[in-house]
Amino acid sequence: MNAYQAIIARNWKSATPYSALFELTYICNHACSFCYNCPTGQKELNTQQVFEALRKIADFGVLFLTLSGGEPLCRKDFFEIAREAQRLHFAIRIYTNAFLIDEAMAERLKQEVHPFELEISLHGARPETHEALTRVPGSFQKLVNAVKALRRRDMKVLLKTPITNLNMGEVREIKALAEELDSDLHFDNVITPKDDGDQEPLQLGAGEEFMKRWWSEEFKDVREEKVPLRRDDQEISAVCGTGRSGFALDPYGNIYPCVQWRRRVANILEIPSMREVWRGSSVLKEIRRVAEEIPQTTLKNSEVGDFTSFCAGVAWLQTGDPTKMYPQAELLARYRKRTYVELQARAAAGEVIEGLDQTFEKCGE
């Protein structure tokens, strides 16, 4: 364990957060069919209110700040906010669809914001696939141009691709495109319900037949996980970092334990400091208790528990119970385990297979 990992482990144990995700706005220039945001129509925080929130988050010791949305670059005061975040010494990450990033915008981001990473959603390797999800003509080419502009300036880009039934046939092309764009790529196997519990986005999921193939040898060259990884609840007993390693804020200033589990904790404008609410909140105490309980109950009692990447927030949205195994998690874990067992058998027969003893990072780690 290196010095940074030691800090992370210590912070998890003491539930001291080091990251925050701030949804600056729900305004967006795309109309993605599976977007999980649920705007309420309330007034979003103005510039000064965002500054107040940032100061409270910084005073609390949070290092990593993700500026998200909606589309954060749609805010007219985005650069004012980002500069304030930088003045407060946050390490800044931006989640964006990149639609507004041209050469001039890329230069401003480089010179004024200095994000250590931009995460950009890529939904296909071809315009017709990407735009079937964004529902904005021209958005694919704009994304490609934006990534090129960012990479020309040596800015780190992570392309994120949720696997859907629309793009599952071109995962290899997506990987090739990411390589061509000199960017990192992350495939996400899970489509989440909307924040209000609407399950409609799940219909876009790639389905069981594809997941079975995804975790087989067929896609080993495309997957980040060459060998399926296992859980490790020895060092850190909580299932994930919800209410522990970080938290999320919506554009109205409401604080949540994480971006997925929308149990409102408080409004950041109504509290004197994050420290007080973090230690005193009954919601957070319950969240942490449940996160500790899941590995000892739900996962321990499941045949595929060791291979399950479990999200209490998704469980809550899908089943109404944050501790209940939900179909997507169980399905992925089943095929992860199947491949693992096959590889284990080959290793037992004398084949050299590296990585069989590795474990995956928990969400929020």
Binding site: G61, V62, L63, F64, Q86, H89, H114, F116
Partner: protein, 92 residues
């Protein structure tokens, strides 16, 4: 370590560095994102003092006052530390 940033002048943390000092230990993220730096206790204190308002000599004074170390050792350590920061483009 360059003449302007560390010797005689007032060295300064790079303005684009993201960092927090928690329980006396600094964690630093530079915008190139390639490394996360974690400093030891004295390194963290020096980092905290690098606000562009103190000379290297004044930083050494503070380190001598706050930690049990001789001036000779503190001077050498601070100089080497600033050189390492400079080499990692963490001063600016």
């Amino acid at each position: 370590m360059t003449e302007s940033s560390a010797v005689g002048g007032a060295p300064r943390r790079h303005p684009t560095a993201g960092f927090r000092i928690f329980e006396g230990q600094a964690t630093i993220v530079m915008p190139d994102g390639s490394f996360i730096h974690v400093l030891n206790e004295i390194g963290s204190r020096v980092w905290d003092l690098l606000n562009g308002q103190r000379t290297e000599s004044e930083i050494v004074d503070r380190i001598c006052a706050e930690f049990e170390t001789s001036r000779e050792v503190a001077e050498k350590d601070v100089r080497e530390f600033l050189a390492a920061l400079e080499a990692n483009r963490m001063l600016g």
